[in-house]
Symmetry: none
Subunit: 214 residues, 4 copies
DNA sequence: AATGAATGAGAGTTCATTCAT
DNA sequence: TATGAATGAACTCTCATTCAT
């Protein structure tokens, strides 16, 4: 029941389609990291190629050896982040010995990831305009994971029967706004997780909402 | 208990101190409407002043007679929309004869408004970068309404005791993602409300989650 | 028999379609002139918008108030030059009292124009790649004028019967390479016409070739 | 009287002084061929080194082992094509048993070559800006061939006395525009020669124009 | 002999904003 | 109150060329 199982990603290639040398792969990674930070800090439009390449320590032209353009880079970043949250959620869930525990840890995984990568939120939210297709794919992929988990839980009688699609989006919404409020907008230095009591209150709300037998 | 009661602020009707003539007010309104549509359709950056003034049928220079710049226009739009959703929610709530009914109708009001003004979502979500301060104010104002309502309901024993701040953000999250999924992303022509069964499933989830006594 | 009669051109407008103010028309003219010179001197690709606007004494952005882009400017220039050569040829021809004289003066008109506007050659020849469609239109329009004139001359028995389309292109070729050799490539300052004896030798060749009765 | 006899220059086969190995020569040839096609199809500026090396199947850096730069490559291509047209014309002429026949076949040779190598036209015409010096040399070399042939014909009384330089450029012009119109611009697949009747009409025009005794 | 990652100047174009009218 | 021509900085992207391997 690692509901958000992540497909294997293809090895990175250059714009011309050739596989990358070790050095090339390093450069590409530097660009991706710089871009993630720039997009998260300034937003899609203000994060210029100049800023990104400067931060990565390469020339402007170099950028186009590894990405087709700004848009494609952004898309790739969204896909990458999506893969990574889902992996974080799955890995969290896998730790649980009971299903109930697994679900709980999946949620925790989500918050832990967003605490460590606030860029997730900030990049995803821009996708509304910068890359609408990717945005929908992102939510869809997470929703699918929830739907699968919820359906299994219903079949086992762990939670009340209800439309899992509706519940899935409700759960995502809860996670999204709680995370936004207590992780993203909490200032001060360093990564910060959702405070325990907030998590507990939220999780209690969810369990009751789902009609959990326990 | 119109929880999101809107302060009776006068709509801004002056520029550089001088009050606006009737004609001026009309021009200003045309610009605001054009901007709302442009921002919603193209996003903050792609919605250029040229596009906006063209749609409003005025010259580019005219724009700067009514607004200090693009940013200030956007801020004003966010504030305006915020006022309008809150009024829609309050008005919904006011129709209810019991508190339970009021809450339910408040929620309905929110969905009705977003169905009629998809611009709300699309503009709010951009505010993350285009106007971070306004974004927080927007959510804060809605959360405050929920908090007040929830607190009252707890006091009356209608729902279980819990941290109303957490619940408020959870509820907003549910509304946001359900609306996004079933209003914003549902294509086809014309405004479209959340389907009934989705609303019911969602609302049942919420009631259970809040521990509503019925 | 002004065979290259020129259609009336529409009044110039701005990019947004509005008719131009007097000042606007002056700016537009300055840009066109600067562009003609730049294209003729440096060729399509080397003639950058920066060079053109600098020569015209306006900012880069101003360019786009009057033209959609570099390509469209170039096309317009080709159309403009085409119109002007044809007018020069027609006006030459109109001076002649007999048809024979008219033809001769039409040819003279062509050479006079190219002497005064070497840009014609240099711009037309680039059109091969910069704007293939315009290039064909240019030659076609001139050829049509020749065909009409030749047909009339055949009907009157002034020249031998032959395929006028072939003859037209042959005549254009003669004019083009003679002009290139003796006008364009002749250096030294100032405009320079084809030397008299060259013109006479060339024209004798043509008359014989056409089987002119005298 | 193979008027356009080509000097027996050895094809260039060295770089930086060192003679080329067999493999090197093959690579160099591949680059030249790729370049001819690229220049003909896209024009000087659009034919990038990337496109050329890609088409040739070598790395970008390899290019600079064989050529000093784009410009020099282009010059060499022009020289090469010039040599080849002239050879084609000479070889055509050599087939003729009488001078008259030789001249005619020389012309035919020109058209046959351009039919098989439309790149000739397209590359030459770009030379106006890409390599002005080469352009003049190209026409000069062909004109010289015509001049020699015409002078000989005049001495033999085959054609009327006239300035051979003027006639030479007139003839080149005729060939150029007829070829452009009926070879280059005739679409459809595959190489295409000038239609017979066009050739005949054109050639009759030329013979009359030259005052050919036959 | 060959590679291909890297460069950086320069291209065309957009756009918020100003200001003389 | 309204215009719209003009600005110029900033943008994304291309490309001939170099050079360490």
């Amino acid at each position: 029941m690692p509901a958000w199982q992540v497909e294997n990603e293809p090895p990175p290639t250059s714009t011309r389609g050739r596989p990358l040398s070790a050095k090339g792969e390093r450069t590409r990674r530097r660009l991706l990291d710089a871009a993630e930070e720039a997009f998260a800090e300034h937003g899609y439009h203000e994060a210029s190629i100049v800023k990104i390449t400067e931060a990565a320590g390469v020339a402007q032209g170099t950028f186009y050896l590894y990405f087709e353009g700004k848009q494609q880079l952004f898309d790739e970043l969204v896909a990458d982040l999506n893969r990574r949250v889902r992996r974080a959620m799955s890995e969290g869930a896998r730790q649980g010995r009971t299903r109930a525990e697994a679900e709980r840890l999946g949620f925790k995984g989500f918050f832990r990831f967003t605490a460590e990568h606030p860029a997730l939120y900030r990049i995803i939210r821009q996708a509304e305009f910068a890359s609408p297709g990717m945005l929908q794919r992102h939510y869809r992929a997470i929703a699918d994971g929830y739907v699968a988990g919820l359906r299994a839980a219903m079949d086992d009688g762990d939670i009340a029967r209800a439309d899992p699609e509706v519940l899935a989006w409700a759960l995502m919404g809860v996670g999204e706004l709680i995370g936004m409020r207590w992780i993203l907008w909490e200032d001060g230095p360093g990564p910060r997780e959702v405070p325990d009591h907030v998590f507990e209150e939220m999780y209690a709300f969810i369990l009751r909402g789902l009609g959990a037998s326990r």
